[in-house]
Amino acid sequence: MAEYALKVRRFQPESGEGPYWETFDVDLDPTLSVLDGLLQAKDRDDGSLSVRCSCRAAICGSCGVRINGQSALACKTQIGEAMEHANRNNGERAGGARTNGSQSEPIVVEPMGNMPVIKDLVTDMEATHWKKIRRVTPWLLPEGDPPEREYLVPPESMIDITQSMACIQCGACVSACLSMEADPDFIGPAALAKAYRFVGDPRDAETTERLHDLANDPHGIYDCTHCFSCIDACPKGVAPMDQIMRLRRAAGAEGIDDANNGHRHEDAFASIIEKKGTLDEAELLQETYAPGVKGKLMPRPSAIKGLVESIPTAVRGIGTGKMRSLPKLIPGIHPKLPGDSQEQVRRIYAHTEEHSIELNLYIKGEEAEGDAPVEEGAAVPERAVGPEPDEGEAPTGDTGPEADTSKGPQGTEHGQADPGPPESGRPGPGGAA
């Protein structure tokens, strides 16, 4: 048993007052959860303290809150660890030196972000989270009548989308999403992860339509800024951002030239780094809008518009010092990497092309396991060459080979060159060059 202080951001809508802080002293084993602490406060001190909760075991998704600023499930956060975290936070704020000796900092518990608060720690999930979920047509759209037996699908395709199915709709990723802070209309990590569950499902017949929809929506897949916050927040390892990147790769493979220039921007990003080793930002804009010689000789009308509209961004780049040196301003004079570094970058590109596999949680386990690597054969094989259902037996609703090739869980060439490290930055066995 140990004593903890829970500093809870409270809001009682009927009081006519604004939100306020209240600290509850609780007394429990450090391995118990922040939720156990909240329930003890509720049971002993104040039954009006409101928090949604049910299973206590990180499966029902009710108790999403922010603990010391981090979006999480209260039931899955050990109270002892939360206190250490609170103390560490305070240490950092105080410039590395703890100000108050051995005394513990309170654990700060707030309602989730990016959602209206109903009361205390209870947020309005319907107004935000569920509305966004419904935005992605969240049900299977198979073609025609179902077959007499089951749909025949490659086993690895089901394992692949099971990572999205592991989502418990707790909203922690929505709470943590930085893009949504800037653009409240962003469809967001949870709904897009849900969308991948259908895009990656070979039984769904509307993959192309779904991808066009999500790529062309200004608040869709290209609205994600790749900040990894949702991956950190997700209590179930769904890694919503990874699912968004899969949607982007699938959209790219589908040849969707989206109205947001998202795909062309990714392409430009990847090819510049392949060529130069680092990002030539001056070249990025023009390559995004008018790629290659052809793009420059015959610019699309939208390219000129896009470039003109980007001038303020470029000016800001100069203003903030991001493009401060002369070589960085003149396209093409960007310095190449020294020595054989450039060659190494190329080798990374080549390696990822050869090993274009993705290892989801149901294959590689929870953490990167240095001492027990998953053997190559256990990885997701190329879906495009996956077992094809026998024509005679193929159920009517199954997707044809054409749709199949576009739905691979594995990365495409664009995908693997994506600037972010694959699989939340943990070195996967396939990617450890």
Partner: protein, 562 residues
């Protein structure tokens, strides 16, 4: 006043399946849940769902395993229906989009489970219940014009008209505290089990036996209430579930000496004997001093290949890591039998009809009975879906030929007064709800657990009856209307106490050992006297006992060994 042909109360698997089935019949449907539907406890079902769908398997084999698992207390006509209709239901779920595990040919793949003579458990890793429930909720979103969803509405009572028919329910909108009368031609209860009356339990905090108590209060009979399943693998302390799928994948049970003790209790099926058998074996090891000092034995999952653990048992890797601090891929985890499932419930026929006209029940709240004295693993999801669908279909048919139900304002006034009375109780005037709840849980886990006897059960009943009195005056802190969880907690406490009383009364009455009811003072099964159900009906203050026959079709009782 919301008015529907069919009103479903509870939105776990049984409720959602019932609502979809009724909507398919073209009637207007409303579904009410005290939590958001995807928070329902069905999502805790990890291991899978049984169906004899593989070539070479048969529904008869599935049915026999279920009959034997039930210790011959299951009704064989209902079990036949459930097992015959299982394959079609699995295929239906697959067509809706459930991401079932596939074999190398791309067909549905299976795993082994306890008490089953063939590998016939279909699964999605170890999140099967969650995956199915989220897919059904996808369908509810798809058919939102046909099915009205009332999410976070807490039902306090059923509405009965002058003819004794169920015509609706009174609910409190959790969000704003408004009490509303819902009118319906048919009402389906799908509110789940009562595990929270025991502590610890694998059950979620919402599993407070609401439907069982509400039906009992309006005159529906309860059946087999003494049959409470203790699951063999739960974490000590918090009671979290470790799926039977772990043993299905080959995990061993070991005592403190490192012995695979199931050899002595079930030499053929070993760890995959029926749950009551395995739980008793564990409890015997613990009671006779061969367990660990923390009152547990060990589950060794390290014998399962690591790749298979990641693919099929990921959820329990998380449970071990986050809630026990144990990496189950590297070391055994300490477990013990823990409260898990309510085999008994509201007595229904094979269409979910209760003794109250217009009132249906499906899923864990109901007792058809397909589980009898002991439920087999991976039969609970099946029960919810088969009898959820059948209830939905029959409730819709019933509603079609009827005029709009006539509800009366009186019932609403009653419930409003009841809530107001609870809120108005003076602080400090009695005990806190949480204190009574805790004492109830500990009492039931002490006296109505794996091993029972007359003296203990009578003591338990005495405590429960005292707690019922104390609950009349327990007080709460929250006087508000918005999200007042405090007042709902007080109402739930009343529901749990009714459930606990019924269990104690039935367990005292059944003077034999069958399935989950093991009486140390009557250690043998007694078919001559006790091959029958105990039915309970509310009469004045307590339950009145009567009996009903067990329906036999083709399986005569035999000695039960594994």
């Amino acid at each position: 006043m919301p008015d529907h042909d069919v009103l479903v109360i509870g939105a776990g698997l049984a409720g959602q399946r019932a609502a979809l089935a009724a909507a398919e019949d073209g009637v207007s449907v409303g579904i009410i849940s005290k939590v958001h539907p995807v928070r329902s406890h069905s999502n805790a079902a990890q291991g899978g769902i049984n169906a004899a769908l593989n070539p070479g398997d048969s529904w008869e084999s599935h049915a026999f395993d279920t009959v034997k698992g039930s210790d011959y207390l299951g009704d064989q006509d209902a079990i036949e229906i459930m097992t015959r209709e299982a394959p079609e239901e699995i295929l239906h779920l697959e067509h809706l989009g459930v991401t079932f595990h596939r074999n190398e040919e791309g067909k549905l793949g299976t795993r082994a489970f306890g008490g089953a003579s063939a590998a016939r458990t279909y699964y999605v890793a170890d999140i099967t219940g969650q995956a199915i429930m989220h897919v059904l909720y996808e369908q509810l979103m798809k058919y939102s014009d046909e099915v009205a969803r009332y999410e976070e509405y807490f039902t306090t009572a059923l509405a009965i008209d002058d003819d004794g028919e169920c015509v609706g329910a009174v609910c409190r909108n959790v969000r704003d505290g408004a009490m509303e009368l819902f009118s319906a031609k048919s009402v389906i209860l799908a509110t789940g089990g009562n595990g929270q009356a025991w502590q610890p339990t694998t059950n979620a905090l919402i599993c407070t036996g609401d439907g069982i108590a509400m039906a009992y209060r309006v005159g529906a009979k309860l059946m087999d209430m003494e049959m409470i399943q203790y699951h063999p693998t739960t974490l000590a302390g918090k009671g979290f579930l470790i799926t039977e799928g772990a043993r299905g994948e080959g995990a061993h049970l070991l005592n403190a000496k490192g012995e695979r003790f199931m050899e002595r209790y079930a030499p053929n099926k070993m760890e995959l004997a029926s749950r009551d058998v395995v739980s008793r074996a564990e409890q015997t090891e613990i009671d006779e001093g061969r367990g660990f000092p923390d009152g547990t034995v060990a589950l060794d999952i390290t014998v399962v290949p690591r790749k298979r653990i990641h693919e099929a048992l990921r959820e329990i890797v998380l449970v071990g890591r986050d809630f026990a601090g144990v990496d189950i891929t590297r070391e055994p985890i300490h477990i013990k039998p823990g409260n898990h499932y309510t085999m008994g419930g509201i007595k229904t026929d094979v269409w979910g009809r209760t003794d109250v006209p217009g009132l249906y029940a499906a899923g864990e709240v109901a007792c058809v009975s397909v589980h009898g004295g002991n439920r087999l693993g991976a039969n609970s999801l099946l029960d919810t879906l088969i009898f959820g669908r059948r209830s939905g279909e029959d409730a819709a048919e019933r509603a079609k030929g009827r005029e709009s139900a006539r509800t009366t304002q009186a019932i609403l006034d009653n419930e409003e007064a009841m809530v107001a009375e609870v809120i108005a109780r003076e602080k400090g005037s009695g005990r806190r709800v949480s204190e009574i709840r805790k004492e109830l849980g500990q009492t039931m886990d002490k006296y109505a657990a794996v091993f029972r006897d007359q003296a203990g059960l009578e003591q338990g009943l005495e405590v429960v009856r005292r707690l019922k009195e104390e609950a009349e005056s327990c007080y709460i802190d929250d006087r508000g209307t918005v999200f007042n969880q405090d007042v709902l907690g007080a109402i739930e406490l009343g529901f749990m106490l009714d459930n606990a009383e019924a269990t104690c009364v039935a367990a005292i009455h059944r003077t034999e050992s069958r399935g989950a009811q093991f009486r140390t003072d009557f250690p043998e099964r007694n078919d001559g006297e006790w091959l029958k159900h105990i039915d309970l009906a509310k009469n004045g203050t307590g339950p009145e006992i009567s009996y009903s026959e067990v329906t036999m079709t083709q399986w005569e009782p035999q000695e039960r060994t594994y």
